[in-house]
Assembly symmetry: C3
Homo-oligomer: 352 residues x 3
């Protein structure tokens, strides 16, 4: 007698506009997760590394890395949203809204905010707004994501197409909620690793983050399981060997975290990733690739009512197997240059 | 001057019926171990993942994964019991008896409950009952294990053969002590990841757990060292290259944990592994293997005096490099099918 | 517009006698780090493994492994001291001065205590005394290290040569501060894993630690990032492929930790590494190498005013891809034998 109790994942027909999906497995995040995060990416931002440093500027203790929060909240959505996804098409309006500390318990809910069948009638695009909450029900993270999902049956009727309005960027007035009011006279720039504050950066400035990090199969699997992300392509060499690339694909979030960690060299005081305006995983990353990164300052913004921190909008680009001294991005025909892995548009906060 | 202070391990002659062996290196288990356990196996059972979820049903906080307890208690026994073992022959009567929380300190003691020389006079079978205790001296885990151990000297006289009575299965009345009385109206089936309770499963039901996980050398070594298991075959490529398989052998407990973790897909509410009735490592697992799993419901049992949880006796089968849609187990001649790694008989508990 | 905000590292000309460098990124060390340390090296010393064991002899709880403290303090110095280093020439006078517990925050400062240009005028030797402190400003670790550093410009004038007096060994009166006064009647030798105390070892005794551990690329990278060590040679296969060895070089501290961990088999009661008198990384270690170790007792010392612990001065030798039953060290011509990785001279403490 064969059971039907396993999760087949949702197909395009299963998503309805307005539907709310509670994702499984809430997760208490701990200092153990923080240690693993450090060991997997080598992150060095002082606020997240040192309780003493964090307290000196007004945090009760070190918050967890913002991307750890993102990955945990995101990971929960994979069994319901992207198990039958063909492609992760984009992100928008991702905002960190409350600091997360060791001992907090994170859970995720997604609301379907758009559905649109593709003209081939085999697939459709699903737009969801996913929300991560802590044990008190406070929202710690919110983001919109759209994925291309297979239909169960090509003959199913198409739903009414609803495509949400996607903001090109998060407004400066909407960011910074995850940073409590800080007393920046307690901020030690020697310990932070750089003298450069918000005011020292200029729009148009490009920063080569110099260092490269080679990724191993065990490393990205350990990272992705830590987030309880279940997407099959990251873990199963037996099936991936017969797949498009012949090998496992690294979870895109690992590339984001590596790039963010490498960005310390040049952006050491950008201690908080406040928002992701948009992002594109330009090409897949595999074990054995060496990841480099560079950033461009796209925009500077003051935050309403805040004299402690200012925001830089950065383009954070990750590239594989080549250094970034020439800031590789696109070729003359407008296509991404070979080796570009990630093109991320984000707001980071620095002391003013 | 050469020292004789290293541990040569025990040979068959060193084990005497009734002997009690206190194993070295008690271990305080922490949230750090819990994070590593999640990162190594991707386990998703809500009770062990979320303090909030655990508290809502009556735990003081999230208990550690039952198999983490097993591996830590087991690991301590390896330097004394199995350093000169040729084969790990079996397990019986393994019961989890008390929840283990971060901060608890585990230690292990083994009692020799049987010895029997083999007819070749070169080896013998040793039966031990190993007991794991917490810092208060409470027994948290108990199991019987038998191993084939080399003799130091083939001419040593054979001891009187004593073979203990080994129960084929743990009685339902003997399981569940590691689960406090729970208030199941606090159990959220959405957060747990499945609507199926104890009553929804039927004897004979077979569940393909669908997903596969490819194991890397670094992963099983990190796992096995976490348990302070010292068995040489898992760690030393220099000697294993000349050995029977030409490579390191994955600790069998890693396969059990992977299979248990994969079983979430179909058995998400089986939040507690209460007992192992018996188990066989059918064939060795190596780095590079992709592990799949399936389960069969062998038996259902109520627990005396408990309305909160019910027990399912499952056969949990792990297989490598093939999916489990046809539930691979044995061939027509009664031998295990190619690729079968593990055939485990266990009791798991679910909400009623 | 290209940024100049990245860290180019210091060149020989940048170091001045008497200069004090505050290193970036203080680090709160936690039970998460302790778990990772265990999982990476399989260490089994009872004092660092069990709160219960540690309390029974007078610690408030388990201290962190001494080498974890060393690696974290050392790691912070790499961006400032050794980013442009050609070679790590030596260590001296390394002393553990205070126990470090989970929750403590470590930071590092280095003072330049010597500079000497080399005759080729392309490089120079820089001597630093690095100091690790906890959140209260107490020194937990101190050591001298000297490195060969590239000059920015070969034509820069040579500074006045100053070479510090380097002690050949730490005096016994100067060690042990990191161990509180202990009540050794609470020390359980069964749980510790060996009956041999300080008095049982003899000068000249050689101990083969027997076991070997094969190192994987992911393992040493995870370890070295945990310490926030940024030395490029450990992480970047893309550049190292074109380098001298064609592959990544394992951080020498990983070899020290592996050797120390293997030394449990023969030195199980040497629970504290109190000082490193000197050390040499004889040859590079790479992923795939199997590390073995042996020790020789060089000296025994009582500690002034202490009846609880005694000191053994050991030579701890790590070797790759061969066992240590013949205690490999040097060949007849006085050169190190093939395969020797590490020749470390250290003080360890044992119960008396």
């Amino acid at each position: 007698m064969t059971s039907t109790k396993t999760n087949p994942g949702n197909f395009f027909e299963d998503f309805r506009f307005g539907q709310v999906i509670t994702h499984a497995t809430p997760r208490t995040v701990t200092v153990g997760d923080a240690s693993l995060y450090t060991s997997l990416y080598g992150t060095r931002f002082a606020v997240q590394s040192s309780d003493t440093f964090a307290k000196a500027i007004g945090y009760p203790r070190s918050p967890l890395d913002d991307l750890l929060t993102f990955h945990v909240v995101f990971g929960k959505t994979t069994p319901d949203i992207s198990l039958n996804a063909i492609a992760n098409l984009g992100y928008a309006n991702c905002r960190l809204l409350k600091p997360v500390y060791p001992g907090d318990t994170l859970s995720s809910v997604s609301e379907v905010i758009g559905v649109k069948e593709n003209s081939n009638r085999e697939t459709g695009t699903v737009y969801v707004r996913s929300t991560g909450r802590n044990q008190d029900g406070d929202v710690v993270l919110e983001y919109i994501r759209w994925v291309m999902v297979r239909k169960r049956d090509n003959d199913s009727p198409a739903p009414e197409a609803i495509v949400p309005d996607l903001p090109k960027r998060v407004e400066p007035a909407e960011i910074g909620a995850a940073v409590p009011p800080l007393t920046m006279d307690g901020y030690d720039y020697d310990l932070a690793g750089s003298p450069y504050r918000w005011g020292d950066y200029e729009v148009g400035e490009k920063i080569d983050h110099v260092d490269g990090m080679t990724l191993e199969e065990a490393e990205h699997q350990i990272a992705t399981r830590l987030y309880q992300n279940t997407a099959k392509v990251h873990f199963n060499q037996h099936t991936e060997a017969k797949g498009r690339f012949g090998k496992r694909i690294v979870y895109g979030g690992v590339v984001i975290s590596l790039a963010r960690s490498l960005s310390f060299n040049g952006l050491a005081n950008a201690f908080h990733l406040a928002a992701i305006n948009g992002g594109r995983h330009v090409s897949p990353c595999f074990a054995g690739d060496t990841v480099y990164a560079w950033s461009e300052i796209l925009e500077k913004a003051e935050l309403p009512g805040r004299a402690d921190v200012g925001a830089l909008r950065i383009r954070l680009v990750a590239v594989k197997d080549r250094d970034c001294s020439d800031f590789p991005l696109k070729t003359e025909d407008g296509k991404y240059a070979e080796g570009v892995l990630l093109d991320l548009d984000a707001w980071v906060l620095l002391p003013r």
